[in-house]
């Protein structure tokens, strides 16, 4: 269970949300500039809210009232950046080991992650030569091996063509299935991802416009349609 109640400012932009997310897989959707990535960064500890609380499974990650602000390395959250943000000076295996060596609790086994994400043939490769889809899978594997309590995916399917999207979705679904790690992912339009999500939050202009089962949100006369988003 992730509870968020926060206000975050970045220049003129203002994100104010009050959410409780219990779903195993939750999608944050909305047009660009809605504050989706800022929300994810606040949860990960990469952006600091002006005030509010962030609580994961009963443990406080951030609380402006009591001055709690856990640094990112102590939050045990797997943040997967848009293009993977892989370390270019390490091989694929080196990237995967980076998370594994620093895990702070029990987590998915190496062999299983490598198998589920189809990384066996890539391990010795340099990351600079990988395709977009391969980078995503390595980034996902690296985060999973760090034994996160929650996976945060920032636009996991952005910059991938339709064919690649179709191929990576099963990997994502299998990861959720195999490792039981809850997932919070951000997407700006990807309808395909909604098949995966049990719950969706629609952000617009830095506020929650609607939240609920994806089918309801994206029904023909649902909130997303009324906001003329899709």
């Amino acid at each position: 269970m992730l509870r968020l109640d926060l206000l975050l400012r970045r220049g003129d932009f203002r994100l104010q949300v009050d959410l409780a997310i219990a779903a195993r897989v939750c999608a944050i959707v909305g047009p660009s500039g809605a504050g989706k990535t800022s929300l994810l960064e606040a949860v990960a500890g990469l952006a600091r809210p002006e005030r509010g609380r962030i609580e994961l499974d009963g443990a406080l990650l951030f609380d402006s009232a009591t001055g709690i602000d856990l640094p990112p390395e102590r939050r045990q959250l797997g943040y997967v950046f848009q293009d993977g943000a892989l370390f270019p000076h390490l091989s694929v295996a080196g990237n995967l080991r980076y998370g594994l060596r620093r895990r702070q609790g029990p987590g998915p086994a190496w062999d299983e992650v490598v198998e589920v994400l189809g990384l066996v043939g890539l391990l010795e490769r340099r990351v600079t030569g990988l395709s977009g889809g391969e980078r995503q899978r390595v980034g996902l594997g690296r985060a999973l091996l760090a034994a996160p309590r929650l996976l945060l995916l920032d636009e996991p399917l952005a910059n991938l063509d339709a064919e690649l999207k179709r191929r990576i979705l099963p990997f994502l679904a299998r990861s959720v299935e195999a490792f039981g790690v809850p997932v919070l992912y951000v997407s700006h339009s990807t309808r395909e991802l909604l098949d995966l999500a049990e719950y969706a939050v629609l952000l617009a202009g830095g506020a929650v416009a609607a939240a609920g089962p994806p089918a309801a949100l994206f029904a023909a006369d649902g909130p997303a349609a009324r906001l003329a988003l899709y």
């Binding site: 500890g45 390395e73 959250l77 943000a85 370390f87 000076h89 980076y98 998370g99 760090a146």
Partner: protein, 224 residues
């Protein structure tokens, strides 16, 4: 080369090596802060760090002497602890460190600024602390620039003259580095040949360092 010339060369190498290694931790810290810091004081720190580059080295040496001499505000605290910099090789090393510091910081700063800022953040979210992420991600990615900075600083320290002669004086075997030895030789009758040999040493060291810096430039983006 004569024994005295070898002595000057060995001393120059030692002084410059000690100066570069001693300046490295602080240099990297300041460079990393300047490359990422959002502080409003950044411009001031940046300017202060770069001052030795434009100040006459003689003036830098004189200020260091005033600061660290027996009666200087810092010297009064350090001399009783056995840390004396005036008129010994440690002074020569300090002079070399201060004068070459801007070169180290600027090169490292540019290299750090070039590292994708998301990469150290990715490391943090994978469980690496600040220092861990700096040492295992930022530093390896900036290694070429940092090495180039070290090489530049070492070479600048090797050739340091003005600040050294004021702070450390020109004592054979203690503070008479190659440039100071050249100065003594061209002032004395019949020293031209010896001076010429040491001049060649200086030119060779500088040339080697500049070629090294060139080799450290990335030839294309993939090699970084």
């Amino acid at each position: 080369m004569t024994a005295a010339e070898w002595q000057a060369l060995a001393l120059s190498l030692r002084v410059s090596l000690v100066a570069t290694l001693a300046a490295l931790p602080l240099g990297l810290l300041i460079a990393a802060w300047l490359a990422r810091g959002a502080s409003r004081l950044r411009w001031l720190v940046d300017a202060l760090v770069q001052i030795p580059l434009v100040l006459p080295p003689l003036v830098t040496g004189y200020l260091l002497l005033l600061l660290l001499g027996r009666n200087g505000p810092l010297g009064r605290l350090l001399v009783p602890l056995g840390l004396e910099f005036a008129f010994n090789w440690k002074g020569a090393a300090l002079a070399a460190a201060v004068v070459s510091f801007p070169l180290l910081v600027r090169a490292a700063q540019v290299a750090f600024a070039d590292v994708d800022p998301r990469l150290p953040l990715a490391a943090r979210s994978l469980g690496a602390g600040r220092l861990d992420s700096f040492v295992t991600v930022t530093l390896p990615l900036a290694r070429r620039g940092v090495l180039a900075g070290l090489l530049l600083a070492f070479t600048r320290g090797f050739g340091e003259f003005g600040a050294t002669i004021v702070l450390a004086s020109n004592i054979p075997g203690e503070t008479r580095t190659v440039p100071l030895a050249i100065f003594s030789l061209i002032e004395s009758v019949g020293g031209e040949a010896a001076a010429g040999r040491l001049v060649l040493v200086c030119v060779a060291v500088s040339l080697a360092a500049m070629l090294g810096v060139q080799l450290l430039q990335p030839r294309n983006a993939r090699e970084r």
